[in-house]
């Protein structure tokens, strides 16, 4: 059984009457990259800020190696790397200055041994110029500095909020490579994003958050498995067909409909065999379509 590194139990946070997250539970295992996906305002940053103890939880707990992660647990914090969605650093420093400053906090941390060598390697791979002042950096370069700061002390848990925003495609690939290497070393990554294609590229497991609640969590393959397909059917009896299947029509053009299908393929074929079908197309749902499906389904439930 894999070792649990981070466990979030029944996390609830309200901003006044506005829900941030409610009763959210999930756990991360050693050496996995966990994708945390959801649209803007779904509660991703609230979850991350609760883990980092930047905000106060209304209820629930966050456990790191089975122990409550408190805001003053310096030992635990030294083993966590954090990249916020927007990187704000001290404008009066150069890139070298902020890295030196960062290193100074980890001098006596055994797990951060080799921090300087790791910094040099990251700087070289991300093509950063250490002489540049922080205030002159573009959004992408600031993000790269943030990535180095999150990784250089060799953390075993890396928490990243929208890590690729601002990075060009070449740097994005370098970044994905770095994440895979961290995973190979046995480090764990909590990867929050709204870019679904990233999740299928780098994540092992994924959690979908909507309106402050975790609506689905599982292996990436499992989420985008054959449970959901998209079917396009052309038939003169399309109304009767839709009624019998009881599916929600996504689009319709004359006697051609497209719908999301949860029936296994053989059951679907059997049901469709009762009708005269002119044309049929069964498509496997991509992770993106999966996400949109769950999201829209949830929204409809919410409205109902």
């Amino acid at each position: 059984m894999s070792e649990t590194i981070l466990e979030i139990k029944n996390l609830t946070k309200y901003y006044g009457k506005v829900k941030g997250v409610e009763n959210l539970s999930l756990s991360l295992n050693r050496g996995e990259i966990f994708g945390f996906i959801g649209p803007n305002g779904a509660g991703k940053s609230t979850t991350i800020r609760s883990i980092m103890n930047l905000i106060n939880k209304d209820a629930g707990s966050v456990l790191f190696h089975g122990k409550e992660l408190t805001r003053d647990d310096v030992e635990a914090k030294s083993r966590i790397g954090y990249l916020p969605s927007e990187v704000f650093l001290y404008d009066d420093l150069t890139v070298k200055g902020i890295f030196d400053h960062h290193e100074s906090f980890y001098r006596n941390v055994p797990s951060a041994a080799g921090i300087h060598e790791k910094r040099q390697e990251l700087v070289s791979r991300l093509k950063l110029d250490e002489t540049r002042p922080i205030e002159d950096l573009s959004l992408g370069n600031l993000k790269k500095v943030g990535i180095v700061l999150a990784l250089m002390h060799n953390p075993e848990l890396i928490i990243m909020d929208e890590p690729t925003s601002g990075l060009d495609p070449i740097m994005q690939n370098v970044f994905y490579e770095l994440l895979r290497e961290e995973k190979e070393k046995g480090n764990t990554v909590f990867y929050s994003t709204h870019i679904l294609s990233e999740v299928s590229k780098v994540c092992d497991r994924v959690g979908i958050i909507r309106n402050g609640e975790l609506i689905r969590a599982g292996q990436v393959d499992e989420i985008s498995d054959k449970q959901l397909t998209f079917v396009t059917v052309s038939s003169d009896e399309v109304d009767a067909l839709v009624e019998e299947l009881g599916v929600k029509v996504l689009s319709r053009e004359e006697d051609t409909v497209r719908f999301a299908n949860h029936f296994p393929d053989d059951e679907l074929i059997k049901k469709l065999s009762n009708y005269r079908i002119r044309k049929i197309l069964i498509e496997e749902a991509t992770l993106e379509e999966m996400f949109m499906h769950y999201y829209e389904e949830g929204q409809a439930d919410g409205k109902a």
Binding site: M52, L54, I55, R71, S78, P84, V87, D91
Partner: protein
């Protein structure tokens, strides 16, 4: 952390201290011409026409304006209390809060350091700068006045220490109030307003028995320059109350900051 904070706050310290030094230097340079040929006595005569309570409020009943030292004991220290008070209160209200205002708090909070240490390191740096400012201005005053006059050096040294007491309390008060907000912009007006309000209350409290109780609402009472001028000693009660208020407000700030949402 301490090294970085010393560096970040050095510029502000130099500007404030430099400005005060230049102002004092200019006053000491022009003062001899102001009081020459018996003009100083005329100023003193003119002051006699003012209500005694008003003169008392500015120590003008204890010190004449016919010498630079006399000016320092009355108007000079009024100026020093105000400026050091504003500097200290602004420093207190900004030094921790700016991490939130400039959004560097997410980086700082992720470092292996406790919130208590963040606050205490910043308090230490602030105290170093406030004490340094008081010391530099004190040394300058002693040096400058000894060149031109023969002031009572013991009295002058003790007087030079007095801005420290309202200074550190105002610093701690600024720090405490800053734990209730997230933006430094809001704190600028509050800090300056607070210092002036307390200063005015302190002045008014000297203007009669009926309003004497107002002195307890002003931290400038802790400077007790009248006591130092009259008795050439610091009143232990003022020193102790200053230290208690400073420590109490720092503890309250730590408690508040520990629970504060940092976004």
């Amino acid at each position: 952390m301490v090294k970085r904070e010393l560096k970040v706050n050095l510029r502000g310290f130099l500007i404030w201290t430099g400005t005060m030094l230049v102002t004092l230097l200019l006053i000491y340079l022009v003062y001899p011409s102001i009081v020459s040929d018996g003009k100083g006595n005329k100023v003193n005569e003119m002051l006699e026409a003012f209500p005694p309570d008003l003169l008392k409020a500015f120590n003008m009943d204890l010190a004449g304006l016919d010498t630079a030292y006399g000016w320092l004991k009355s108007e000079g220290f009024t100026f020093l209390y105000l400026i050091i008070g504003i500097y200290s209160c602004l420093l207190g209200s900004n030094i921790v809060l700016k991490e939130e205002s400039e959004k560097t708090i997410e980086y700082l909070a992720a470092l292996p350091i406790t919130r208590r240490k963040v606050v205490l390191d910043k308090v230490l740096v602030s105290v170093i700068y406030i004490v340094s400012m008081v010391a530099i201005l004190g040394i300058f005053n002693v040096a400058a006045l000894n060149i031109s006059e023969q002031p009572d050096n013991k009295q002058l040294l003790l007087l030079s220490l007095t801005p420290l007491f309202p200074g550190i309390v105002l610093f701690a008060l600024g720090l405490f109030i800053s734990t209730f907000t997230h933006k430094t912009k809001k704190m600028l007006g509050i800090s300056i307003g607070l210092v002036f309000a307390m200063y005015i209350l302190g002045v008014i409290s000297e203007m009669g028995e009926q309003v004497k109780a107002l002195r307890y609402l002003s931290v400038f009472t802790l400077a007790d320059s009248r006591g130092v001028i009259t008795n050439t000693e610091l009143k232990p009660a003022c020193v102790i109350v200053s230290l208690i208020l400073f420590a109490g407000l720092i503890i309250l700030s730590l408690v508040r900051y520990q629970k504060k949402e940092l976004v």
